[in-house]
């Protein structure tokens, strides 16, 4: 069996699983679960096998079959196999696998478990598709599929109105992003004449090298007659819209927190580890298309999102929402890193984040599970004794997220800070550091309130540890959250982009941050500040002291700076208003006025005309003669 076949199998196994479950095994829940888990775990094993066989840089970096060919529009169904995609493949199948297994325990009571796993497999399929796609349209297709499977999973408990609304919101918000994304794709195709990543990369390089750019254009840019750079900027920003949607960057960040309405494993898999990372992944994939101006915008958007989300997270009380906002802010980090033309740090952080954020979510899930669907941290407390495994794994996750050395988060975050400094972008560097402090602060707030101190409610008193099937994945992820930083993930990004790295040993990797000491120190001190603040404020605090201190700001944070209200008042209203107008026009102008007039007019004319039929012979004779006269006039009159 040729090796290129493996990725195809990896890609299609989950789809197969989903199909089988939907068609045949919807009745038997356990079987379905096992099929789905089996599919993804096999995928993971095959991935390892593939990488083991021909490393992160396989000889055959692309395998494709033609999917659609209409004249100038040639679209392959193709897989791109390079370090970037293979790494992502590992994360998706690995972390995903862990979460699948975990959900088997978590969803055990739910009668819709079969459906759940069908959706999960569908999602895995789509996500793998995004990762492996070798051209824009393929990516967009799976991009959309990812969107819909997350829609399905958020709305999994569709009888809860809030779940339905959240799903709807997520879908539409993503669609807004995709609108830009698809426009960008169209522009790329029209402008550079291909959709295939490698071909596009060649075109760009060709342009960079070509002395004079005369006659470089395939077509004039449809939206206007701009310079090459201008066009590239527009294209870059349009493509970025897609990432803004999927990775929930400002201003389209509002859907992610609501998405927590879905089952916790979903939040872990989709809205922490993989799907939301798709945006970042895409940006790295198409980095060669993004010119300086575009990158600038991207960087600032990312930075702003990181800050905004961190601020909001400080005042949330729902354990999952806190994690959701922290996800937002971490995504901001990654996007910022890409914007600072540092894809390597971005992907690094993405990887580590996948581990510890999944871990945190699953921990939170285990807590919620243990407390019978209680999510408010102020109704918890003192869980340390009752759920030890969860406690220990959760603290590891917290430390990793806060970036405490030597946990994985420390390394990735540090590389981002370094990147910011190296690119001399001091403002963003400052923001990043500040956000680091905030992160530590809100995470430890959560930690102190939820796990330490006294149990605040009955539920908390009777909390119990979750079953093995749930705790084992926690432990597995915890291990990676600890060591993920220095087992040498960065090596493998080396040759992926235009910069060359020489491979590092684990030891070197562990000491990597010391190369530029300044950001490291700042990072660590930020962590210290945050930790201290959290400790002083929340060490066995019964209620949240912060609102008193911050006043208005706190309420603003609590209410997520009123973004939802804002959009509700503007975007939604606007559309509904226009729709109302259109409907009114349809009803009254087109239907009523135009058609009505024609109908009524005809009818009226008829009724008027037949008044001539008086029934009186005399009138008839008169009209007859009148008619003769008319004819006479017409024929002889002139």
């Amino acid at each position: 069996m040729k090796l290129e076949v493996l990725p195809w199998i990896i890609l299609f196994l989950p789809l197969l699983a989903a199909t089988v479950i939907t068609l045949f095994t919807l009745r038997c829940r356990t079987t379905s679960a096992l099929i789905s888990i089996g599919a993804i775990v096999t995928g993971f094993i095959l991935t390892i096998a593939f990488i083991g066989a021909n490393g992160f840089h396989p000889a055959v970096s692309e395998t494709a079959v033609n999917w659609l060919s209409i004249g100038g529009l040639q679209i392959d169904f193709g897989l791109k196999l390079d370090a970037l995609s293979l790494m992502m493949l590992l994360i998706v199948t690995g972390v995903g696998g862990a979460i699948h297994i975990y959900s088997f325990g978590y969803m055990h009571e739910d009668k819709g478990m079969a459906r759940f796993f069908a959706f999960m497999s569908l999602f895995t399929f789509s996500m793998l598709g995004v990762v492996l796609a070798n051209n824009f349209l393929m990516m967009f297709i799976f991009w959309e599929l990812v969107g819909v499977s997350s829609y399905l999973l958020i709305g999994f408990w569709f009888e809860k109105p809030s779940a339905g609304d959240a799903a709807k919101k997520a879908f539409i918000t993503n669609r807004l992003g995709d609108f830009g994304f698809l426009l960008g794709i169209l522009a790329v195709w029209a402008f550079l004449g291909s959709l295939n990543f490698s071909a596009l990369q060649d075109r760009i390089i060709e342009h960079k090298n070509s002395a004079n750019t005369i006659g470089f254009f395939l077509t004039r840019f449809p939206l206007g007659d701009f310079s090459f750079d201008m066009n590239m900027t527009i294209i870059g920003l349009l493509l970025f819209c897609g990432a803004v949607g999927k990775s929930a960057q400002f201003p389209l960040h509002v859907w992610l927190p609501d998405a927590m309405e879905g089952p916790t494993p979903v939040s872990a898999l989709i809205h922490a580890a993989t799907m939301v990372a798709a945006g970042v992944y895409m940006l790295c994939r198409v980095l060669f298309l993004l010119n300086a101006d575009a990158l600038h915008v991207i960087a600032y958007i990312g930075g702003f999102t990181a800050l905004l989300a961190a601020l909001i997270a400080v005042q949330q009380n729902d354990i999952k929402r806190i994690l959701a906002y922290s996800t937002l802010s971490q995504l901001g980090y990654m996007v910022m890193a890409v914007g600072l033309s540092g894809p390597t740090p971005a992907m690094f952080h993405l990887t580590t984040h996948a581990f510890f954020k999944a871990l945190l979510f699953l921990g939170a899930g285990s807590v919620i599970h243990g407390l019978h669907e209680e999510q408010d941290i102020w109704k918890m407390g003192g869980l340390k004794k009752k759920m030890p495994v969860t406690f220990w794994t959760f603290i590891i996750g917290t430390l990793a997220l806060s970036g405490v050395p030597p946990f994985s988060g420390f390394y990735s975050k540090d590389s981002i800070l370094a990147q910011a400094l190296n690119t001399k972008n001091y403002l963003l560097f400052a923001v990043a550091v500040f956000v680091a402090a905030l992160t530590t602060f809100y995470m430890f707030r959560l930690f102190f309130v939820a796990f330490l101190g006294e149990a605040r409610t009955e539920k908390a008193k009777h909390a119990h540890e979750s079953p093995k099937v749930m705790t084992l994945p926690l432990i597995a992820l915890a291990v990676f959250a600890v060591i993920g930083g220095f087992i040498g993930i960065t090596n493998n990004y080396g040759s992926q982009f235009f910069v060359e790295h020489e491979p590092l040993s684990v030891a070197q990797q562990a000491l990597e941050p010391l190369h530029n000491i300044f950001p490291m120190l700042l990072g660590i001190s930020a962590v210290a500040v945050g930790l201290f603040a959290a400790f002083t404020l929340y060490k066995n605090a019964a209620t949240d002291p912060l609102p008193a201190k911050l006043g208005g700001l706190a309420t603003a944070m609590k209410n997520r700076f009123y973004f939802d209200e804002l959009y509700e008042a503007t975007v939604i209203r606007a559309h509904d208003f226009i729709a109302a107008v259109a409907d009114w026009i349809d009803r009254w102008i087109i239907e009523g006025a135009c058609i009505g007039l024609v109908r009524g007019g005809t009818d009226l004319t008829g009724r008027a005309l037949r008044l001539a039929q008086t029934g009186n012979l005399q009138t008839y004779a008169f009209l007859f003669v009148l008619g003769v006269a008319l004819l006479l006039y017409f024929v002889l009159g002139k």
Partner: protein
Amino acid sequence: MSILTYIAGWPLLAALALIVVPRNYRVIIRAIAVLATFISAVLAVKMFAQFVPGANGFQFEQQIPWVESLGISYHVGVDGLNVGLILMGAIVAFAAALCSWEIQTREKEFYILLLVMTGGILGAFASLDLFFFYFLHELALVPTFIMIGVWGRGEKKNYATFQITLYLSIGALIALIGLIALYLQSGANTFDIPKIIEHAKTNPLAVNAQNFIFPLLLFGFGILVSLWPFHSWAPLGYGVAPSPTAMLHAGVLKKFGLYGLIRIALPLLPQAAQSWAHVIAWLCVGNILYVGWVAMRQKDLNLLIGNSSVAHMGFIFLGIASLNLIGVTGAVLIMIAHGFLAALTFALSGYIYKQTGTLQISELGGLCRKLPFIGTALLMAAMAGCGLPGFANFVGEATVFFGAWKAFPWVTVLSLWGALVIGGIYMTRVIRNILHGPLPEKWNSISDASSTWRKLPYALLLASLLVFGFLPKLLTDKINPDAQKIVNMATAGKNADVVIAPRSSGRESAHYSLAENQSRLTPAATK
């Protein structure tokens, strides 16, 4: 005898047979109808399989002189443009016949009318003779009228019935005048489309004649396809129609006008087509955006579906307007895809109506729990409706966008908004309000489609959508060569637009045509 004659003939034959069947033999009547449509569906699949892509001229041809003195002949045949349409039509007809179980009164008349409608429209798509093209399509008018009138629902029934009938007749007659004028102007003295086209190649129609005929065809056919602003009949009519009728009409008959534009207007009236392209493009914004917004406001499921199907027509018009291979191919793709989709959605709404007795969105809710199968199908239909990949609609719409992007960038932007955002909004709203949320008490008694027979039509249509969504090459390979011919004639005299080299692996860099080189020497390009 050509297989096409059988495909169109079986339903008509069955209709004749039904006349003699006593009206109380319900089962037999139903069996005959289903069987007839099934046979033509199978034959259609067979034909689709045997079709040789890119073969020269038409396939499965058959010609029988009808009125020599006028050059009218019964002439059927398929090329890439209508092979898919006929397949779609036959399958939808079969599904519609299966869905007709919901008709409980005067089945005999109903099935006769249904079969006449089916045979007529299949014949129209197969016909290569202007006269029969029109003639067979008009067969459906009276059945539509009576079906909606007798088996329709709702208090606006009469008004809607008359509006749809009159509207369709207006369109048809305007088109008829256009066709007659075309026949007379072409000078070929025959109604045979291939002959006329051949004749037009050597001596094309005078431009002023074209500019007189094209609008007739455009608006005549446009009305049949509910081109904005002549769309209001469609939602109204489909809102009250019994679901089999709505399925056939929205799914299959509506495509007639579009097919006519592509098959007749584009190749024979190229200059006019080029000068009218902008008008079409901007009118279709009316379809996509405006009608999309209208759909957002609908309180009745059928009205919403009707409006959304009107909106979808816009994409097809956009593809036609773009007048290039990609656009036209995309248009044909959507015609087929939307045929399946419209049929599916109306079938589902019909089922829901049968169960609940209402389609008021506000009254429904949480149906997913009681109707897992129907609910899932509706969800998938809605997703297909807002252009989700995996369903055939996405392929078509994406293709159209690629085709239209260069010709009408701003229109494309607006259409994208309509497709992705507005479509997304109202479709997700439907799902939220009908399938999701808590289930009202009163619907606890409703039951899901249980037997295989009941599930079959929905499954069939969904399967078709998915198959063509996953393997669009099945269609595009057939459509391409003939679409190319049409486009070549339609763009005659106008310098060919950008040719981007086909790239299989996508590695080799693109080359461009000479005409492009000039246009490239722009100040913007030189910096």
